[in-house]
């Protein structure tokens, strides 16, 4: 039997990091456990993006703690306080930073720290601390939903650009930006972020979408795991951006099979990131995926991942208009013909 690993080169580079294959575990709560991170490496992940550190969450939790202590203090003579003195300091980001170090010790693959800030100071401070903690790269998870009608799209984009510039200026490790799909001009935003110094663009973030509980008449947070059909939107934009930005492109969302990985590569992604597939099928699915990828590439006589990267990007296909608006009309027509 032929050992495909010896004949097919799965390696890729992302953010200047040499990766043994394009399968990256994306940011998820699974990464909170060092054991899981180790299992991911064992199963074949070439890098892990840790769960996000949310500055706002830290601030809220610290504020709640402060409020609880203060509002139960000084109430009456017998009980000047209700809670004991804290034995140690609130760890805030320290727990996360310690986790980076633990992951680095536990595995040999690159560890990408993920950050969601609320203040410019917070972004910069935590980015620096993540670098010091040993992260190989940063992923800025700009999970920002503008609901204020007075904030223009341009202002939102400028906020992203300023942020990336500032963080890139403050750290030496590469910085990727994870984006949502809701921009009027994705290509333009991508170029601006590229110019701002982002080493990578991660497409696309998946946002929590609140659901309704009809019995309680309450809005409940909800996150549905990704479906393979979500891949298409990502493929589309990676194919469009490939070659037009210097930044490495990463595809995240909707990767559930080896062929999804192949498509991601062909569109122009350096890596394919996944969480839902691992949640559904277990971390060991990475191993299966890796094998299936090799088999597919063997069957289709591909020598390396690099060979296929961008091979079906907008610039590389014979009909680039397939990625443009006309395509939509064609799809509709094909529906009506059924």
């Amino acid at each position: 039997m032929i050992d495909l690993t010896k004949t097919i080169d799965l390696s890729t580079t992302y953010l200047g990091l040499k990766l043994k294959n394009p399968l990256v575990a994306s940011s998820s709560p699974m990464c909170q456990d060092v054991g899981n991170v180790r299992r991911m490496e064992d199963a074949g992940a070439s890098a892990v993006v840790l769960h996000s550190l949310f500055e706002e969450q830290i601030a809220i939790e610290e504020d709640e703690l402060d409020r609880a202590i203060q509002e139960s203090s000084g109430l009456y003579a017998e009980a000047t306080t209700q809670l004991p003195e804290m034995m140690g300091q609130v760890l805030g980001p320290d727990g996360y930073l310690k986790h980076i170090g633990q992951c680095k010790k536990a595995v040999g693959i690159p560890i990408v720290a993920s950050l969601n800030g609320t203040s410019l100071g917070g972004w910069v401070r935590y980015a620096r601390e993540m670098e010091q903690a040993g992260a190989d790269a940063l992923e800025l998870n700009i999970y920002y939903l503008p609901v204020d009608g007075d904030v223009s799209g341009e202002q939102v984009e400028q906020k992203y650009v300023d942020l990336v510039k500032e963080v890139v200026a403050q750290v030496k490790i590469p910085v990727a930006v994870k984006l949502g799909p809701y921009f009027s001009s994705m290509s333009n935003v991508a170029k601006k972020l590229d110019a701002a110094g982002a080493s990578g663009l991660v497409l696309f973030n998946r946002f929590y979408q609140p659901d309704y509980d009809l019995e309680e008449l309450e809005v409940v947070p909800n996150l549905i795991l990704s479906n393979p059909h979500e891949l298409l939107l990502r493929l589309h934009w990676i194919a469009v951006l490939y070659g037009n930005v210097k930044a490495d492109l990463a595809l995240t969302g909707g990767v559930h099979s080896a062929t999804d990985v192949v498509k991601a590569m062909m569109a122009g992604a350096r890596v394919a990131m996944m969480t839902s597939a691992l949640l559904k099928r277990g971390v060991s699915f990475l191993d299966t995926l890796c094998t299936e990828l090799l088999v597919w590439m063997g069957e289709h006589e591909y020598d390396s991942i690099r060979q296929m990267q961008g091979s079906m990007s907008r610039n590389a296909v014979p009909q680039p208009e397939a990625f443009e608006r006309a395509n939509y009309m064609k799809v509709l027509r094909s529906y009506s013909m059924r």
Partner: protein, 1186 residues
């Protein structure tokens, strides 16, 4: 060795911390139990050990919390016998519980020091405040007694007493005044480890160890002795006591050599040729010291003799310390010994003089009981009294005794305050951080300037909406002023609403500064001030500043926390420090205080400080008043005479002016007085949407303060209703033709929002709109107050046809517990209210000391009230530890009276009428209707008895009410039930008697400040378990169930109100002991209590708090008495516990340990659930098969 006083660090701490600092450094085993005002000493010791701080020998002292002070004394005795250096901290009843062991410890010549924050022993009432009645009650134990008068002395004497105890082998009580010294924050010189090492002789420590019990060299101690030798053995210790004064003086001298502070057994201050002196001890001596210096400088021939070593009392040294010129002596005692020839110190002084053959005129006086203010004016009055030819003996000072005329008059205007000192008063709201910020301010001034500093903090008696007053003094000279500030040159009001409640500018000196936190700016504020405030500002020429602290707080993300903002204003205006330096110091103290809570908290506070000064404005005070706003009346005009003449005076802060004649002689007070307080503390109150409401009654059930009420009534009562009064058709099948009103008491509501949270109805067109919605109180206050008054005059719904097991019907039962001072959103009070709704007209409550006794009966008012017939709960508090027994005693008396009354009815049946007698004796009182009928029979009985003038008839008349069923309830918290009172509780449960026990389980000692009890769950932090409680909660419910004869229920109203109601009804119906353990959310859990009911639900859903009932009545039916009433866990334990700061504190600061404890706690839940579900699955005793 050092003897330079300038090399030691200066620290700004309170007396408790000073004592604990030394005690922790020179002991090995510390046994503690919380009791106000000494709890903080134990808390410090526990915290330091948990932090790994070592004693002078480099090892971390072991600190153990016991189940009572008796337990602490026992453990301490054992530790001493086994050779460890051991100590404890206590006060009041706690010290009394230690007395049996103290006799033993002293009898065995065992060196130890007990540090006592001296507190009043409960008599006609409990008091948490300071006097010497506790230490005086322990003076026959054989302990030496050393008195500290100030925070510095507390630190110094804590060490001297330990050194002297080791050398003399006599145990010491080191005491200082509760609150006045234990809680006074002052700048003191900290003793160094070298000082401690120099004073504690390791040879004596080893000698103590060598006397220890050990099987390696066994001896027997603690024998029983007989008449032949006990007496002689008791006398064998005499030489040791005789040596104590010399040893103490030597240690004091040695201490002086180290620190430069010379103390003596008796210290004299004043004119060397004085003709009048006062002899006293405690913080009052500081006041006398200040007064003597002031008056002696003006030529008065007066002096003060401070007693340091009170036991053994060295009569030679005492007499030698009195100047020969002295002619008259006033001995002041801070206690009362009714019936004695005089108070203890007075008697000792007389004896000393007589034995030494010295003739002086001596009078005794009492002062300062229960922290009654003791001021220079009072001291002067005592000296002035001694000028009289026949000075008053056995006098009192500080009160007006218009009954037995013991009191001497004093001139309140007399003052000895230093002209150059800063005297600042701050009025804040409990929880707004004012006290904490002021403590920081004192530290800043104490540590950043050469000034001496003093802070003392006064709280009102409520747990919600309480007003705090901070008294701060700073100045270049040492501060002896152990009394409140009555002449302030700086006054800050941190809450605008106080202006209409309090005359806070009364204490302002002419030209003082007034800082107001005001929503109105400098241009607008003047017209918003009440008239008397304007008058004072103009009259006293006050400098007036405003800041909108709440707005600054809001903008900087501080929410309602205005503390650092107001602190910044104080420093900016007062000029105690240059502005820049002050800001830097405030930021440093913010970092120190809040650093552990996270960087974002620190940054937010910094931002608040930086944003403050731009918003601080001086107000140009007009020359004339313009306001028409008056201070609000203290109580409504409709309040009864007692409330007007007595209660209102206390509410107005004039309690000190009430004379003895105004006092109930035996501690008995009328109930139903909380209704007159009208505290107006809610910013927002619930507003009823009568169209949306489904009349379910859940809001009425959960309201902790009984401010939402419902009535169903005839249409006719609506005549004359105020225009905004709401009424809708009642949604009851059999009362359809009647009207229903849900009414809020706007002036009594605390704004907790529990009612809104529990309301199950949401608008179909806008789901955030419920049948109850919060709205600002002020615009609604007057109209809703009128509606409330109208509502109260509508007759209550007839109880008899109502179903007691339906929440919907229970809302119509009048609560006989209303408007308590419990915390906003309290989790305990809804249960008590329900109890009074169901059985209040026949309930006798025995209440353990704790939160429920404080909000139940802390003056000025009580929430327990009466129904239209004048019936309601009787209530009393005996002690903390004896409540179950106390309640059992009530049951025994009621049962005995009932038995005797029945015997009399039987005996007198022919005279009373056979039918009536039979009716009375065979009455079924298991229902409301049955009780109503029995009351009617008793009424007829009374009529008949009135016509019969026999011994028996008079006896029966005095006992007739006992023929109506009485429901005895024994109420208390988990500290009582799980810990200190458990022995009694257990015995009462075993008694078989018909008592009902309600345990309000907050899982900590809430009233004394959140110390761990055996009810504290694993993984939660609490004081004395700061690193997370390592062991699981005691399953009191299951322990009780194991009796088989006790009705047991574990309930959580937030999870199932029906289950709660059922448990109360079944417990009361069971003719035997019943115990209900009620989950009570609490501020000590650390979350917004508006979510309290959701948290209760989560506690049950996670399996942490399974609901169950164990009903022995089911045994007779052949059924399994154990009924598990909640479902198997549906959420993870962490989804319940990590909503609460008591758990997240650990998870955030020590995640590994939190995780370890979480796993164990999950195991607790799983194993308990298995046990319960297995028990629930068991079949009954088989009787059903027959």
């Amino acid at each position: 060795m050092t003897n330079s006083s300038t090399t030691r660090p200066k620290v700004t701490i309170d007396g408790n911390e000073a004592a604990a600092y030394v005690a922790h450094k020179i002991n090995e085993v510390i046994a503690i139990y919380p009791i106000t005002p000494s709890s903080n000493m134990g808390e410090w010791a526990d915290q330091w050990s948990a932090e790994g701080k070592t004693n002078i020998w480099g090892t971390v002292p072991t600190v153990v919390e016991m189940q009572s002070e008796g337990g602490a004394a026992g453990a301490l005795h054992g530790a001493l016998q086994a050779g460890s250096l051991s100590t404890t901290f206590t006060a009041s009843q706690g010290l009394l519980l230690m007395i049996p062991n103290m006799f033993k410890i002293a009898g065995e010549l065992t060196p130890t020091v007990f540090h006592i924050a001296a507190r009043t022993v409960a008599a006609q009432a409990l008091s948490i405040f300071g006097d010497h009645s506790d230490v005086m009650a322990a003076r026959s134990t054989g302990f030496a007694m050393l008195s500290s008068n100030s925070v510095q002395e507390v630190m110094d004497f804590a060490l001297i007493s330990q050194a002297a105890s080791l050398e003399s082998r006599i145990p010491f009580l080191h005491f200082f005044d509760g609150f006045r010294t234990s809680h006074e924050v002052a700048k003191v010189e900290e003793l160094t480890v070298e000082d401690l090492k120099a004073m504690i002789d390791d040879g004596l420590v080893r000698a103590h160890r060598a006397r220890a019990l050990t099987p390696d060299s066994p001896v027997i101690r603690g024998t029983a002795q007989n008449p032949d030798v006990f007496f002689q053995a008791r006398e064998a210790v005499n030489s040791f006591y005789a040596a104590v004064p010399t040893i103490v003086q030597q240690q004091m001298d040695k201490f002086a050599g180290l620190t430069g502070r010379q103390y003596n057994l008796f210290d004299y201050v004043g004119a060397p040729d004085a003709d009048r002196i006062i002899v006293m001890m405690g913080s009052g001596a500081e006041v006398a010291h200040e007064t003597v210096e002031h008056l002696a400088a003006r030529g008065e021939k007066i002096g003060l003799l401070k007693v340091r070593l009170y036991r053994p009392f060295d009569i030679e040294k005492f007499v030698a310390a009195i100047p020969a010129s002295v002619k008259t002596i006033a001995v002041l005692d801070r206690c009362k010994e009714p019936g004695a020839t005089g108070e203890p110190l007075y008697c000792d002084v007389i004896t000393a003089l007589v034995e030494m053959g010295v003739s002086k005129k001596v009078v005794g006086g009492r002062y300062g009981l229960s922290s009654k203010e003791f001021t220079p004016a009072m001291v002067k009055a005592v000296y002035d009294g001694l000028l009289k030819e026949t000075p008053r003996n056995h006098f009192t000072v500080g009160i007006r005794d218009d009954v037995t005329f013991t009191s001497i008059d004093f001139d309140p205007a007399f003052s000895t305050e230093e002209p150059g000192a800063v005297r600042a008063l701050f009025y804040g709201l409990g929880a707004d951080g004012t006290v904490g910020a002021n403590k920081n301010s004192i530290k800043i001034i104490g540590e950043e300037t050469p000034n001496f500093a003093q802070g003392y903090f006064v709280y009102d008696s409520k747990k919600s909406g309480s007003i705090t007053t901070s008294h701060l003094r700073f100045g270049p000279r040492p501060i002896h002023s152990s009394y409140l500030i009555s002449k302030a040159n700086f006054i800050a009001c941190h809450q605008f609403v106080f202006l209409e409640k309090l005359d806070m500018l009364k204490a302002a000196e002419c030209g003082a500064t007034f800082l107001l936190n005001s929503p109105y700016g400098p241009a607008e504020v003047w017209d918003r001030l009440p008239l008397p405030v304007q008058q004072t500002i103009i009259g006293k020429k006050l400098k007036f500043y405003v800041i909108d602290g709440n707005e600054v707080a809001k903008k900087t993300g501080m929410g309602g926390r205005i503390n650092t903002i107001m602190q910044t204003c104080f420093f900016a205006i007062s000029g105690v420090l240059p502005r820049e330096e002050a800001i830097a110091a405030i930021k440093y103290s913010i970092q120190k205080t809040y650093g552990k809570r996270g960087e974002s908290v620190v940054q937010k506070n910094f931002a608040a400080v930086d944003a403050t000064l731009d918003q601080l404005f001086e107000v140009q005070v007009p020359e004339a008043v313009s306001s028409t706003i008056q201070l609000r009346p203290v109580v409504p005009a409709a309040a009864p005479g007692f409330v007007q003449n007595f209660t209102a005076r206390i509410i107005a802060g004039e309690g000190d002016d009430l004379p003895v004649s105004a006092m109930p002689i035996d501690g008995t007070f009328p109930s139903a007085t909380a209704q007159w307080e009208k505290r107006n503390i809610a910013l927002d109150i619930p507003v009823w949407d009568e169209q949306l409401c489904i009349q379910c009654g859940k809001c009425v059930l959960v309201c902790p303060h009984s401010v939402i009420r419902a009535k169903v009534y005839d249409d006719s009562y609506l005549a004359g209703a105020p225009s905004t009064f709401k009424a809708v058709p009642a949604r009851w099948k059999d009362m359809k033709e009647k009207k229903y009103t849900l009414q809020v008491a706007p002036e009594d509501c605390t704004g907790c929002t529990l009612c809104v949270e529990v309301c199950p109805v949401k608008s179909k067109s806008e789901v955030r709109h419920k049948a109850l919605n919060m709205a600002p109180q002020l615009p609604l206050r007057d109209s809703e107050a009128a509606n409330w008054d109208f509502f109260l005059n509508i007759p209550d719904t007839d109880r008899r046809p109502l179903s007691m097991s339906q929440v919907k019907d229970i809302q119509l039962l009048q609560p006989l517990f209303e408007f308590s001072g419990a915390c906003t959103g309290c989790g305990e009070t809804p249960y008590l209210k329900l109890l009074t709704q169901l059985f209040g007209d026949r309930t006798m409550i025995a209440n353990a000391t704790g939160c429920s006794s404080i909000y139940g009966a802390n003056l000025p008012t009580t929430p327990y009230c009466t129904n239209g017939d004048g019936r309601g709960p009787s209530w009393s508090n005996s002690l903390f530890e004896d409540n179950a027994e106390f309640g059992l005693g009530m049951r025994l008396a009621v049962d005995k009276q009932n038995e005797y009354a029945r015997e009399l009815v039987w005996r007198m049946a022919s005279a009373l009428g056979e039918n009536l007698a039979k009716g009375i004796l065979e009455a079924d009182q298991s229902s409301e209707a049955g009780i109503f009928e029995q009351r009617e029979r008793v009424r007829q009985l009374r009529e008949k008895l009135a016509a019969l003038d026999t011994v028996e008839s008079r006896d029966l008349a005095s006992l007739a009410d006992s023929l109506v069923k009485k429901s005895v309830w024994i109420v208390g918290g988990d500290g009582w039930a799980y810990d200190i009172g458990y022995g009694g509780l257990d015995h009462v449960m075993a008694s078989g008697r018909n008592v009902n026990i309600l345990v309000l389980d907050t899982e900590v000692y809430s009233n004394t400040g959140g110390q761990a009890s055996k009810a504290t769950p694993r993984a939660a932090v609490a004081k004395f378990a700061a690193g997370g409680k390592p062991v699981g909660k005691k399953d009191l419910a299951m322990m009780a169930a194991m009796y088989g004869t006790v009705y047991v229920a574990r309930i959580a109203m937030g999870s199932s109100d029906m289950h709660t109601v059922k448990a109360f009804l079944e417990a009361e119906a069971w003719d035997g002991p019943s115990i209900i353990i009620a989950y009570s959310h609490c501020i000590a859990h650390g979350y917004d209590l508006a979510m309290g009911l959701d948290q209760q639900k989560a506690a049950v859903n996670s399996g942490y708090w399974p609901l169950f009932r164990y009903n022995p009545a089911l045994v007779a039916q052949g059924r399994n008495p154990f009924q598990l009433d909640s479902k198997a866990p549906t959420i993870a334990l962490k989804d319940y516990i990590y909503n609460e700061t008591r758990y997240t504190m650990l998870a955030k600061s020590n995640p590994e340990e939190a995780k370890r404890l979480l796993v164990l706690a999950e195991g607790d839940v799983a194993s308990r659930w298995k046990l319960y579900s297995d028990m629930a699955a068991m079949s009954g005793n088989g009787a059903e098969k027959k």
